[in-house]
């Protein structure tokens, strides 16, 4: 045993160690405060704004319910509600049926090409919604849609085969776009189900049919409900398809109505706020039901047998049919949209595919796009915003996750709830809320890139929380204990032990936030200002001002870059 003096020479007391208690408290308070500011301020101003007239100069706003009266007693409101619900429900049903069918084929049958499908099927999640919508317009617009024209020419029809400018068209495009999400969630559900549950029914004498109806279907019910609700919420809050396909033909849903209220002349933020609160309430209700359903699902937690690998059904000759379904789906969801985009990007002006058109193909659109000053500015802004928001989100949520997972002060759930709150904010609503807040608050960021950064960070906090929490939950508490017993201060513990161990999870979350930030359109469209454009806004503008070839060229470039980022994501994502 050494003397205390000898111990001191071995383990010199560092300054950080003495400060560790204070440092830890400062970080916790700071992060909590920041999260509260980010999430509560927009919510507060949104509700406040919907009840007050805009103040002019020094004159404060006056309390009023006229926004709500206007929003909900107007005769045009009922169709909007109906459209929104039909659109969201249709989207959910389409995406769910596609995703579940595909998940069953790839997980539970011996269909060939399953691996290829799993790899490529995620592309629609990466391709920005605006591009996906444009692709389907290029394919099925009654006037210029390539397939409509080809079918009309081949069969001498007078009417288009399918008009994408309709509620059905919107549902199809949005549903197809979200089908990979349903596929991912249902794949996970199929994987986590203990095969012994179905096999014990077979061994009890139940036929495969009876087993499916009395066991499989019942067990899948909570998951099914939860996935459907999630998809429904996506459909409620989505903006791209309603704006690009719905607006031109007057099919309005809440998100496009909000956009119109803000961008109309005169801009009516109060009315937008009144629509937004209803949208918020619907999201909240959805989340609430979702929590109830999945909470009940814990009772249904399907115990996974050790090393149990679900049996794959041998389909025999039918497996060629299921393989054809996979290929057909990939064709519709991935290949066709991308091909038509590439085709358009190479055209000098609108042309139908023909031998003559092949001679006229040109890369002029690419050249034009790359030399546009607005595009260059937007690319730089987008990159900056994506990197900054991803970094900020992951740093913040790593600490939030630690607070909620590893500490025990009362009210820690509040931090988690606050960080998850933005889930209920559709992008346009976030745009409206932040506009209100920073037109009022004495923080001069309205009309700068900062407000966009704020919007992105706030919106993507929930994704970050999920990634960070799951990364942290995989780290045994003993690893932290061992670091503390080795004399590490809290900051050292975080920096030298937790961060490195959480790295793969954090990096996966970071890349995800980068990708969704680049895709972001709905908030940006309400918050951008000249000089502070982002790529999605530029594409929207180019489309609105009638430059489809340039949009396509820009879209192809963006899709390539994002797919590259996603490939990296697959490498680093745990278990991905």
């Amino acid at each position: 045993m050494g003397s205390p003096a000898a111990l001191d020479t071995v383990l010199p007391v560092r300054r950080t160690e003495r400060l560790s208690g204070a440092g830890r408290a400062a970080v916790i308070v700071g992060v909590t405060g920041l999260v509260a500011y980010l999430t509560l301020v927009p919510l507060g101003f949104l509700i406040y704004g919907s009840f007050f007239t805009p103040g002019v100069g020094e004159q404060p706003g006056i309390f009023t319910v006229s926004n709500y009266l206007h929003a909900y007693t107007d005769r045009s409101s009922l169709p909007v509600l109906k459209n929104s619900v039909v659109f969201a429900a249709g989207t959910a049903a389409t995406a769910f049926c596609l995703g579940t069918g595909l998940a069953w084929i790839t997980e539970r049958t011996d269909t060939p090409l399953s691996g290829l499908h799993s790899a490529l099927s995620l592309v629609p999640l990466i391709v920005p919604g605006i591009l996906f919508s444009l692709s389907w317009i290029f394919l099925f617009s009654p006037r210029i849609g390539l397939i409509n024209l080809a079918v009309r020419r081949a069969f001498g029809l007078t009417d288009p085969l399918f008009n994408v400018y309709s509620l059905a068209g919107m549902v199809w495009v949005e549903g197809l776009h979200w089908s990979p999400l349903a596929f991912l969630l249902m794949t996970a559900a199929f994987r986590s189900m203990d095969p012994a549950l179905e096999e014990s029914a077979l061994m009890s004498g139940a036929s495969p049919r009876a087993t499916f109806f009395r066991i499989t279907l019942k067990l899948a019910m909570p998951t099914t409900l939860s996935v459907m609700l999630l998809l429904f919420l996506r459909g409620i809050e989505t903006f791209e398809v309603p704006a690009i396909i719905g607006l031109p033909v007057g099919i309005h849903v809440f998100t496009s109505k909000i956009y119109l209220a803000v961008k109309g002349y005169p801009s009516d933020l109060g009315l937008a706020g009144a629509y937004s609160t209803l949208l918020l309430a619907m999201s909240l209700l959805g989340i609430f039901i979702h929590a109830r359903v999945t909470g009940g699902a814990n009772r249904f937690a399907t115990v996974t047998g050790r090393g149990a690998v679900p049996r794959r059904i041998a389909l025999g000759r039918w497996r060629y049919l299921t393989a054809a379904v996979l290929v057909g789906y990939l064709g519709l969801a991935v290949v066709l949209p991308l091909l038509v985009l590439v085709w358009y990007s190479l055209l000098p002006y609108y042309l139908q595919p023909s031998v003559r058109a092949l001679d006229l193909l040109t890369v002029d659109s690419y050249r034009a796009v790359l030399t546009l000053p607005a595009v260059r500015r937007a690319a730089a802004n987008t990159l900056l915003l994506a990197l900054a928001s991803a970094t900020a989100v992951m740093l913040l949520t790593a600490v939030v996750a630690w607070i909620t997972v590893r500490t025990r002060p009362r009210g820690r759930w509040l931090v988690d709830q606050m960080a998850s709150l933005p889930v209920i904010f559709p992008g346009v609503v976030m745009g409206v809320a932040l506009s209100w807040a920073y037109l009022r608050l004495p923080v001069p960021i309205y009309g700068t890139l900062w407000i966009l950064l704020l919007a992105y960070v706030t919106r993507y906090l929930p994704y970050g929380v999920r990634a960070s929490s799951s990364a942290l939950l995989r780290i045994h508490t003993d690893l932290e204990g061992a670091a503390q017993m080795s004399g590490a201060s809290w900051l050292q513990l975080f920096w030298r032990i937790l961060f490195p161990l959480m790295r793969s999870g954090l990096v996966a979350g970071w890349i995800y936030v980068v990708v969704v930030s680049v895709r972001e359109l709905s908030s940006s469209l309400l918050l951008w200002s000249p000089g502070n454009e982002v790529l999605s806004v530029v594409m929207f503008d180019l489309w609105q001002s009638g430059h489809p070839q340039e949009v396509a060229a820009l879209g192809v470039l963006l899709a390539v870059v994002l797919t590259g980022a996603a490939l990296v994501f697959r490498r680093v994502a745990p278990g991905g």
Binding site: A196, A206, S207, P208, G305
Partner: protein, 377 residues
């Protein structure tokens, strides 16, 4: 009763080929308790699942009471739900959306059996009573304790009164005390119901306690089958000797081969008289397997012991003392009676029960493993 003949099952994963059943053949008589015993990955569970009908074999034949359930030659494959076989799964496979009573009623209300409501209930309650779960009928199955879940899985498998019950490591998820208790209960249930059972486990003690007959599976093949006693006392290979119970394995060379499989073997520690597991010639390489309880520590002053050694380690286990005695390059494990006085580092004498020392001829494929073992000793 159950006849499995030349069963082959191969899995392809990528370019790799795994053959969990490599020409498996065995029979279980009516009312018998037959155990497939082997380390994990040996193919015992796949064999069981082929009998259940949950896997389709590639070749061979499975017959129950002479009726083919599977026959590669006659292209017969009866689906699992029409075989009338009960099964208890390792993870129990209890349905989270059903109560205890609904579990045992389920097998009576599906498939061909359309019993009157009254009888379904009577038989369900009877099955629950047989596993002492009465009073818990309305509880969700997943709220039961581990032992109760296990018994419920058993009741569900038995309620249809199947001819054959398959059990796939049913006790492996229970704690040690409960497992011991359930073993006895399972044995009693088998005796009272007379049902034929095919059991899969990697736990050799479980296999010894429960079974009428055991087949040891190693890398997809049955390496030895017989009664628990025969397998324990007369292992045919070093793998079996080592896998069942604990044993000393001494590599050596046969000096003399006498009548009735008697032989003398020269080992690194001295000469041992043994019984050969299969015919041997002088000069053969063998492993001698001697169980620790078949070695006795003797007083060197009273008799001239077979081997002399130094006591290196003695661990008190309650009923016996686990000793390690160094004899030249070998270490001999001895299960000594606690009453024998022992001092670490002292010279002691060892006697071997020559009726229970088994000489196991080294097969070429064992050679690598055995030389490794000799190196350790």
């Amino acid at each position: 009763m159950l006849d499995v003949h030349d069963l082959v099952k191969t899995f392809h994963s990528g370019s790799a080929r795994i053959t969990p059943c490599d020409h498996i053949t065995f029979s279980v008589p009516r009312g018998g308790f037959f155990t497939l015993l082997g380390p994990s990955g040996s193919g015992k569970t796949t064999t069981l699942r082929c009998v259940a009908g949950l896997e389709r074999p590639d070749a061979g034949e499975i017959r129950l009471d002479g009726v083919p359930l599977y026959s590669a030659a006659r292209r017969i494959h009866v689906p699992a739900h029409r075989r009338g076989i009960g099964m208890v799964f390792q993870s129990y496979g209890l349905w989270p959306h059903m109560t205890v009573l609904q579990h045992v009623e389920f097998p009576l209300t599906v498939g061909g059996s359309r019993l009157p409501r009254r009888e379904v209930q009577d038989r369900a309650l009877e099955a629950l009573a047989a596993v002492r779960l009465e009073g818990l009928e309305g509880r969700p199955a997943v709220s039961l304790s581990g032992g109760q879940q296990q018994r419920l899985a058993l009741a569900r498998a038995l309620v249809r009164r199947p001819k054959l019950l398959l059990l796939d490591e049913p006790l492996s998820n229970l704690d040690a005390k409960l497992r011991e208790h359930m073993r006895i209960e399972l044995r009693q249930l088998q005796r009272s119901s007379g049902i034929t059972m095919l059991y899969v486990t990697h736990d050799q003690v479980e296999a010894l306690v429960l079974s009428d007959a055991i087949a040891i599976i190693h890398e997809g093949r049955i390496v030895q089958a017989g009664t628990p006693r025969a397998i324990y006392e007369r292992p045919q290979t070093a793998f079996v000797a080592d896998f069942i119970g604990s044993t000393n394995l001494f590599p050596g060379t046969v000096l003399r081969a006498g009548p009735q499989a008697r032989c003398s073997v020269q080992t690194a520690g001295g000469v041992l008289d043994c019984v050969a597991a299969s015919p041997v010639q002088p000069g053969c390489s063998v492993n001698v397997s001697v169980r620790p309880e078949d070695v006795t520590i003797v007083d060197r002053r009273a008799t001239v012991p077979q081997w002399d050694g130094v006591l290196e380690e003695a661990v008190f286990l309650g009923g016996s003392v686990d000793c390690r005695v160094r004899v030249g390059p070998l270490v001999v494990r001895v299960a000594a009676r606690p009453s024998v006085p022992l001092a670490l580092g002292s010279q002691i004498g060892l006697e071997f029960n020559s009726d229970r020392a088994v000489a196991l001829p080294i097969q070429p494929e064992d050679a690598g493993r055995e030389s490794q073992r000799a190196g350790q000793a």
